[in-house]
């Protein structure tokens, strides 16, 4: 052996020395047993609080105008989960993704910590005393306060009345109440036709639903109650209404339709007139670019449908006209009182200022007559098109005050910021329905040094001299104000707060000034504007018009239609893409007279060939770390155009040019393929097939016979040998030792078989279950720009969603979206949504491949992942046919890591019942085992057995379609056991003999009358 060492600078001997030393060091650290944790007791024990046990408080959701009822789960003083209030008349326990993500608004790490005052170019922190003093001084110096402007995010209930009272006491005019997410033309048409801003819609009473651009499952109106009703209607199966969607783009609502009649943007009115018989169908079809035969058939169907429901919610320059036509059609078809219920109106939409109010404000600000402007909650600088010049007008005001608690685009321009409490920290009332008050109470102490705006106004009083500190006992002055005005007094108020609701009517503000008549703003007809394509801009079902963008759950949640996250995109039809040589991800520049935006292309079958579509909500230039510089804002390219009747901003009233920029972005998609490739993941049958099945004229579909499994075909939902074994059906006397899987086992472990049914005829793909799962199970979001991998020792992949591009998202439950048909790139295609989660296979492929026994089958039917056993080989994930196991690549749950997903105080939300997983661990759906255990503990403490349907899992609880049912399939008294033996039941990939615990019920399609029956 050579005595000379190699060229290496480090000799082997010294290398081993170093290794030995570091080994000792590592050993010393690893074996340290002297770590001392602190146990901090309460100073004074709060009443009704048991450490480690949740309290539940009823309150009201303020994430959109609808004002659903909430139950906030509070553990040791911190809110950890939001769920719908089951007793609330509006949402009946369901809650959408946006509502649930309100929690990340409360714990948003970019909230203002306290009041801020402008010094030069920057906002600097000041004390409340200093801030209020500044407000008083500037107000007293301002002069001409009768020209002051207060822009408030619309909310129902008492606050608007309090606000107007205060404004009047200081000589200021009533406030402007806006909500950029509300379709004002629909509100206007509803007021004219029904006398209410938003009637309740009863889909269950209809036999035919026609929606002209009304995305009632996306963002049009009160989504949760509408979705509840729509899903109930669909669950009537053979009696369910057929649903036809008319528009230039299939939104989430459109994808749920049985039939799509495509038309050009701006031509909806002609289609509506054709439906009403006021225009020859052929002529309308010709002008709209729609299929005349389809339209003709629909006209006939509408006449003969009996009860129907016609909805319109377009965003063009004639949007109000279209909505009026829909209302007229409903009246002539006799739908008012059956499917359109003005008597059960959603009163939370009352009191909105006219859509042109903002324009009027803008003009006054430009003219220099406005001495002071206040903004609370709303973000008009972002939600108005830059071409309208609102930001410039706003900046020209000498004194600008914001009550926002977030650094949004409007607030960063302000001179003084008086951050409001989050809705979960404040008192308040709402008026979701006539004669129904929604109560809002603080469910925890304020996270930051914020103050309720109502309290600030009350303390300022009319003289402004007070500027007092909050009441010494910490009580809210606004609470006292509410109590004094509450019907029935303080006792009734307290009683109402505990249930979250009361009958009656809140103190309400005077009616908003009537709609400003259409200003002399002749809308340019679309045909005259420049460009080859129609530009269709639409509010995102998750981010709205932008308010959701600072919540990582909503940024991470894949759009229900496109399955894209953390980026903006341009939807383009496949034939158009082919013509332009565009592939998925190619950056396209959209240019109009107003400006241009560039975003990657997403090839989408559901958009017209002559139209490109872009979602709103992203492209913030401020609004915190999760929103800023993520995506683009298509409003930048939107010329000023308005609905001619209301002045509402017209989103789809322009043409544009589309050019390939030449570069390419990878799409941040959670989708593998949009096609099933014959795998039968999402199964469906037609009404005819279902009827035949029910009549016994068709053979019951079932899988292959499995030798040795006697009950296989008899129990569609419970085919697992283990499930059967647990019930003793396979009790094979020759099997001497069944161990803990023996139903007679002394531990009683195998008594139950946890299972789930998912009814695909109910599921609309809204993805509320996904957010519920993130909240319940401490699932990290992984797409923020700083969470990417290292590309060198000093550089990082900082593309938003970089981890998702590499397939590293952590969605324990995801919604898969598959298209059927439409191979000719036509409009006739069907969409199926499948919630996909761990199937908890009875015969799980993941289990035998784990070298360390970190995944095993629990005797009660759970496929368990033991995080502390897992060493991260990822064999299980490779062997999982459902791809529902997710690997924690970067230690998203470890605070000292760059990729940490819960920067303070977002980590306050973490569920203490669920382990926060570290790096290198496989994780997946647990069937909310912590909820199972909690229910078992509760039953055990009360010395009883579990009651049927006593509890449910997070996804099932949230579902606004009621598609998911969870429970014990081995006990026939649980709902899930009854659902699992439905004739529509099937298992995904049952050919693999995985014997899953998740049973899907086939979707039921309603083909057009006379359409050929598909096999």
């Amino acid at each position: 052996m050579s005595t000379t060492s190699g060229s290496s600078g480090v000799q082997r001997r010294s290398f081993l020395k170093v290794l030995g030393a570091s080994g000792v060091a590592a050993g010393a650290i690893g074996c340290s047993s002297d770590r001392v944790d602190k146990l901090i007791p309460y100073l004074n024990s709060p009443d009704n609080t048991v450490p480690g046990v949740s309290n539940y408080y009823a309150t009201t959701c303020r994430e959109c105008s609808a004002a659903c009822g909430l139950i906030a789960e509070v553990r040791d003083g911190r809110v950890i989960k939001l769920e719908g209030n089951p007793d609330h008349p509006l949402n009946q326990g369901a809650l959408c993704s946006r509502g649930q993500a309100g929690l990340q608004g409360l714990y948003n790490p970019d909230r203002y910590r306290g009041p801020m005052l402008r010094e030069g170019d920057a906002l600097v922190p000041v004390t409340w005393e200093r801030a209020l003093q500044e407000l008083n001084t500037r107000l007293s110096q301002a002069g001409a306060l009768q020209n002051a402007v207060f822009i408030n995010q619309h909310e129902s209930g008492s606050f608007p009345a309090l606000l107007d009272e205060w404004l009047a006491s200081r000589g200021m005019p009533p406030h402007v109440s806006i909500d950029a997410d509300v379709n004002m033309p629909s509100v206007e048409a509803n007021r004219e036709a029904y006398g209410v801003a938003w009637p309740a819609l009863d889909f269950t009473a209809a036999r035919l639903i026609v929606s002209v651009g009304a995305d009632f499952l996306d963002d049009w109106g009160a989504v949760v109650p509408q979705q509840l009703s729509f899903a109930d209607a669909r669950a009537k199966l053979t009696e369910a209404p057929r649903f036809v969607y008319i528009g230039s783009r299939r939104s989430l609502t459109g994808l749920n339709a049985d039939e799509w009649i495509a038309c050009r943007p701006g031509t909806e009115l002609m289609v509506m007139q054709a439906l009403a018989g006021q225009m020859p169908v052929a002529q309308a079809a010709e002008a709209a670019g729609a299929n005349a035969a389809q339209l003709e058939a629909l006209v006939a169907e509408l006449r003969g449908a009996g009860s129907s429901l016609v909805l319109a919610g377009t965003h063009g320059t004639n949007a109000t006209e279209v909505a009026r036509a829909a209302a007229a059609l409903n009246q002539s078809l006799g739908n008012v009182g059956t499917t359109v219920l003005p008597g059960r109106a959603l009163t939370s939409f009352e009191g909105l200022s006219g859509a042109s109010a903002l324009k009027a404000v803008s003009e006054r600000m430009t003219s220099g007559s406005v001495p002071v402007v206040f903004v609370r909650g709303a973000n008009p600088v972002f939600t108005t098109a830059p071409a309208a010049g609102f930001a410039q007008a706003f900046q020209s005001v000498p004194f600008k005050v914001s009550f926002s608690s977030y650094p949004d685009e409007t607030t960063v321009l302000c001179d003084l910021v008086l951050p409001d409490h989050h809705a979960l920290e404040s008192w308040g009332t709402a008026q979701p329905l006539a004669n129904s008050i929604g109560m809002q109470q603080p469910v925890m102490k304020p996270v930051f040094n914020t103050r309720s705006t109502a309290d600030v106004l009350l303390q300022l009083g009319s003289t402004g001299a007070a500027a007092a500190a909050p009441a010494a006992n910490g009580d809210s002055a606004y609470r006292q104000w509410l109590e004094q005005r509450f019907g029935g007094g303080v006792d009734a108020f307290v009683a109402a707060v505990t249930t979250g609701q009361a009958q009656g009517t809140t103190t309400s503000a005077a009616a908003r000034p009537a709609l400003t008549p259409a200003s002399a703003d002749p809308s340019t007809p679309i045909g005259d504007t420049d460009g080859e394509f129609f530009l269709h801009v639409y509010p995102s079902p998750l981010l709205g018009t932008g308010s959701g963008a600072n919540k990582p759950w909503l940024q991470e949640l894949a759009d229900p239609v496109t399955k894209l996250a953390w980026q903006s995109w341009v939807e383009i039809h496949p034939t158009t893409a082919q013509r332009l040589g565009v592939e998925n991800g190619d950056r396209l520049t959209i240019t109009t007279g107003a400006g241009s935006v560039t975003a990657p292309a997403y090839i989408f079958l559901g958009v017209q060939p002559d139209t490109v579509a872009m979602p709103l909500g992203r492209g913030h230039t401020a609004y915190g770390r999760y929103a800023k510089d993520i995506g683009v804002n298509p409003l930048v390219a939107l010329p000023v155009a308005a609905d001619s009747a209301t002045g509402a901003m017209a989103y789809s009233a322009t043409k544009c040019r589309v050019e390939k920029e030449g570069s390419h972005d990878q799409l941040v998609t959670t989708e593998g393929s949009a096609r099933q490739h014959g795998r039968g993941i999402a199964q469906a049958l037609t009404v005819a097939e279902l009827t035949a099945l029910q009549n016994g004229t068709a053979e019951e579909p079932h899988g292959h016979d499995i030798p040795g499994v006697p009950s296989y075909s008899a129990l569609p939902g419970l085919r697992s040998p283990i499930a059967a074994d647990a019930q003793g059906e396979l009790a094979d006397s020759s099997a001497a030792q069944k161990g803990m899987y023996d139903p007679e086992h002394w531990s009683g472990m195998a008594r139950r078989r946890w299972a789930m049914t998912i009814d695909l005829s109910r599921c609309t793909g809204c993805s509320a279950c996904v957010t519920a799962c993130y909240a319940e199970n401490n699932i990290p979001t992984v797409g923020a720009p700083w969470q990417g991998r290292a590309t060198s020792p000093v550089t990082w992949d900082e593309r938003p969603g970089a981890n998702i591009i590499k397939g590293r998202e952590m969605t324990w439950i995801r919604i898969e979206r598959y298209y059927e048909g439409g191979e000719d790139n036509g409009t006739d295609f069907e969409t199926r949504f499948v919630p996909m989660l761990c199937q908890h296979c009875g015969n799980a492929p993941c289990e035998p491949v784990c070298p360390v026994y970190a995944t095993y089958h629990a005797p009660d039917g759970l496929n368990v992942q033991v995080y502390n056993r897992c060493v991260g080989t990822r064999y299980c994930s490779n062997n999982c046919p459902y791809k529902v196991r997710y690997y924690n690549w970067f230690g998203y749950g470890e605070p000292n890591r760059r990729q940490y997903a819960f920067p303070e105080p977002l980590n306050w939300q973490l569920n203490p019942d669920v382990t926060v997983r570290g790096k290198g661990v496989m994780e997946k759906c647990t069937f909310c085992v912590q909820r199972i255990r909690e229910a078992e503990h509760r039953a055990s403490s009360e010395e009883r057995d579990l009651n049927p349907d006593e509890f449910t899992v997070a996804c099932a609880q949230a579902c606004p379609s009621r598609a998911i049912v969870f429970g014990d399939a081995a006990d026939a008294t649980w709902s899930v056991a009854q659902m699992a033996v439905d004739q529509r039941a099937y298992h995904v990939f049952e050919d693999l003999s995985t014997f899953t615990a998740v049973v899907y019920l086939k979707k039921v399609n309603h083909p057009a009358p006379g359409a050929p029956v598909q096999a």
């Binding site: 047993s33 944790d37 480690g52 629990a858 368990v864 647990t926 403490s941």
Partner: protein
């Protein structure tokens, strides 16, 4: 040359393997030694006989019992206030649940609020230096920063109420706290120790019973 270089790594790897084995054995033995020695070195007021009794009991728990070597048995950090359990339990006759009052209804047994202590100690033994420390915390509106003794890892879900309501005495896991002038960790709290008891008592013991 290349072949010889490649094989030259083998003795090196062997050395690493042997070193690792020795190191782990050494550190394990040392930890055991430390654990045994800790009570004597850490405190003078502790009664070594009590500790000894506790250790013996662990060792006598039968063939399934795990070694205490890798656990914190005997861990007894000094507390900000020298709280004597015997005075309260044996002297004053107080029940465990008087102070740890959520042990029957929550996964968390609960610590008494400072207010609870002061409920008695505004009158009782107010001259004691330890009570004056307590009074100082209370008048400063500060909670007492107790040092944690019993701890299971964060991936273990341990519901106290299920055990207490199921008839497991506090002393089964925590030892004769009523006789400990200064509380120390009595049981290993190792997984084998848990499973042993679950099997003996015929309750479920699969992983997802506690790990989720």
């Amino acid at each position: 040359m290349t072949t010889r270089r490649k094989w030259a790594a083998v003795p090196g790897l062997a050395v690493i393997a042997i070193a690792a084995t020795l190191l782990s054995a050494y550190s394990g033995a040392q930890a055991a030694q430390q654990a045994a020695a800790a009570p004597a070195t850490q405190t003078e007021s502790r009664d070594p006989a009590v500790i000894k009794a506790g250790m013996d009991t662990v060792a006598e728990r039968g063939p399934w019992a795990y070694s205490a070597a890798s656990s914190n048995v005997g861990n007894s950090p000094e507390q900000p206030i020298n709280f004597p359990h015997p005075v309260h339990v044996q002297g004053a006759g107080m029940n465990c649940l008087y102070c740890h009052n959520t042990a029957t209804k929550s996964p968390d047994p609960g610590l008494p609020a400072v207010e609870t202590c002061m409920g008695c100690h505004q009158i009782v033994a107010t001259q004691s230096p330890e009570i004056q420390k307590l009074a100082q915390y209370y008048s400063d509106s500060l909670p007492v920063p107790w040092n944690r003794i019993h701890r299971v890892p964060k991936y273990v879900q341990f519901p106290h109420q299920r055990h207490v309501n199921g008839g497991v005495a506090c002393q089964t896991c925590h030892g004769q706290v009523q006789e400990m002038p200064r509380v120390f960790q009595y049981s290993s709290l190792n997984m084998g120790w848990c499973v042993n008891c679950h099997v003996e008592n015929q309750v479920r013991y699969d992983c997802a019973t506690c790990h989720y």
